[in-house]
Amino acid sequence: MVTLLAPAGSPEAVLAALDAGADAVYVGLKGWSRGGARGELTWEELGWAQRRVCNDGRELQVALNTIPLPHERSRLFQQIPALLDLGMRSLIVNDIGILAILRGRFPTLRLTASIGCGAQTVADVGFFRDLGASAVVLPGTVGPNEVREITAVQGILVEVMVHMVEEFILLGKCWMPSYVHLKPSPLPTDASAGPVPEGAERGLRQTGSMKRGGVGTCFKICQQPWDLYEGDSWREARRFPSRQVSGVADVAGYVEAGAHVLKLQGRSLPPDQLAPVVRRYREALDGVASGSVPADRPTLPAAWTVVGR
């Protein structure tokens, strides 16, 4: 049984994902997710979402996938007991150190190594298994044949982000935005988060850092028009290549390869754009389960993608 894991950036999107057939939904906790403020839920919304998803017999996962500065880290860990009280068990994290600490302190948690951890190989997945991750996310650029090798690693679930934007630079290996702009931004006001530690103002959240941002996205340096020079000579204006990865046609291949979870990108998608994406993958998975492999379909229309997320 392969799990379809859908994004949601609002309570309305949670409902849309459930209605469209997601087996599980992941959301960001306000202030602590890499996707930025546009796609995060408050504590109140998170509590509602957890009840709603559980009532449907499905699962809610929470992304705590920024990398806090050392003086912020204790604030991140302070969130965990409240999440456990809500009945949440699955967290998505983005730093090996934080993953290791959470593993030690909260053994009941299921911890997923985020796509930002940069895993792409069988050896990478073995590393995260050894570290204590319950699951690891691979980009949808890792094809079914590679996933078949990777799922030979026992003791860890393999998730594939089958629907995502592929930028030129690999996720988790890019600091072009912060090279150009790095803008410290305050943490959101959240009474339940406890007092701001002394010295917190010196670093705060690093907007512009793909790994440490979390309040807004990067500055999309890779989507800017650039002039290409050879030495001092202008050659042409161009952009970095990027593309929408839509893996509907590969669903059967990933299932056959032993992938455990098919994950969709797009916490910033409005519900009316999210629902058809989720539905398309639901149909593909159901088709595989019933033996009717869906025909190769064209890339989803632009409005259904996460471009501009």
């Binding site: 990398i67 050392p70 880290r73 730093d95 090996i96 150190g97 934080i98 993953l99 290791a100 600490i101 951890c117 940069g118 895993a119 792409q120 190989t121 069988v122 050896a123 990478d124 997945v125 073995g126 590393f127 995260f128 050894d130 570290l131 650029t141 890792v142 590679e146 990777i150 030129f168 630079i169 690999l170 988790g172 290996k173 890019c174 600091w175 072009m176 912060s178 090279y179 150009v180 702009h181 790095l182 670093g203 690093q206 512009g208 850092s209 790994k211 440490r212 340096i221 028009p225 650039w226 002039d227 290409l228 020079y229 050879e230 030495g231 001092d232 202008w234 204006a237 970095f240 290549p241």
Partner: protein
């Protein structure tokens, strides 16, 4: 005071053409691309020869590894690690956590240095990597000196800092330059030997095909006393995409500067600045070491200003 000044060289041709007298150690191999011209990481015999040349010169020999491998790289990676272990390389550099695991599990006697693409951001990360056998750590380039100092103090581990050169900013599965094979009539692997910059207003980055680097050269010349006072002893001049002349002249500047920085009064030589400025096509920056955007410069040297960015597409 024992200080290590090291650099990186991709192939035997560059190694043979380089005067390494001011370096203590060299990382062999291009971390971005398997097809890079003569890449040590793909050529067993040449890697052996490279290690021999360094040994004969009394240099510490390190072997790099790929920053973003796929499954099909791994047999080659194992072969490279095997050569490194058998031929007495003093360490391998791991930018990738899977390669770190392979080195730890299959070559337990081989010391591992953590590279800048491994995303080391925290002291907790150091502890994880140390558990996999890492002995030296290049923090993620986004960390400030203050953060690096905190990590080093907390964990008591040696850090390696890039003090000069073009800072790695990203790595891709694809080559940015292959589009130009037909347009320019130049084939891989010659394309990425060209001096190619991407510019927009005040921004500039260098393309090395599958890798993107800062357009400006990181320059920590003014700040060497602080680095030494913070306890750092391992320094890299990043020259993977540079000429042997750059490699030699910049190292000579930093060797002399490091010796002076260890003295009570750090007197800078104007000659140093003429050299680093002459080699910095776009200008100088401090990377992220002072908690600012990576292309900013935090010192007082006028040499940090100036660039070709004002050149219009027509060249006027």
């Amino acid at each position: 005071m024992s200080v290590e000044l090291n650099t990186s060289i991709a192939n035997l041709r560059d190694l043979r053409a380089s005067d390494l007298q001011d370096y203590d150690a060299v990382y062999l191999g291009d971390i971005y691309c398997r097809l890079y011209e003569g890449n040590f990481l793909e050529r067993t015999d040449e890697l052996r020869e490279g290690l021999r040349i360094l040994r004969d010169q009394g240099k510490r020999a390190y072997v790099a590894s790929y920053a973003a491998p796929r499954n099909d790289y791994l047999p080659r990676v194992r072969k490279t690690l095997e050569v490194a272990a058998r031929e007495g390389a003093e360490a391998v550099e791991a930018h990738n956590l899977g390669i770190l695991k392979i080195a730890h599990d299959e070559f337990p006697g081989l010391p591992v240095h953590i590279g800048g693409f491994a995303n080391l951001y925290t002291d907790a990360g150091v502890e994880v990597l140390r558990g996999f056998g890492a002995v030296r750590f290049t923090p993620n380039y986004e960390l400030s000196l203050e953060e690096i100092h905190d990590i080093a103090s907390t964990c008591g581990v040696p850090m390696e800092l890039m003090i000069h050169g073009k800072m790695p900013l990203g790595v891709s599965d694809y080559c940015f330059l292959l589009d130009y094979e037909e347009k320019w009539g130049i084939k891989c692997p010659d394309l990425c030997q060209k001096d190619l910059f991407l510019k927009q207003g005040d921004w500039a980055m260098k393309s090395v095909g599958k890798g993107i680097m800062s357009g400006k050269d990181v320059c920590m010349l003014e700040h060497l006393p602080r680095l030494l006072a913070d306890g750092h002893r391992h320094f890299r001049i990043e020259t993977l995409s540079e000429t042997p002349e750059y490699r030699r002249q910049v190292a000579a500047v930093y060797r002399e500067a490091l010796e002076r920085a260890a003295e009570a009064a750090f007197e800078q030589d104007e000659r140093w600045w003429r050299v680093v400025r002459a080699h910095a096509r776009i200008g100088l920056c401090n990377g992220f070491y002072f908690g600012k955007s990576g292309m900013e410069y935090a010192g007082i040297r006028p040499e940090a200003a100036g660039s070709l960015l004002t050149i219009s597409p027509s060249g006027t």
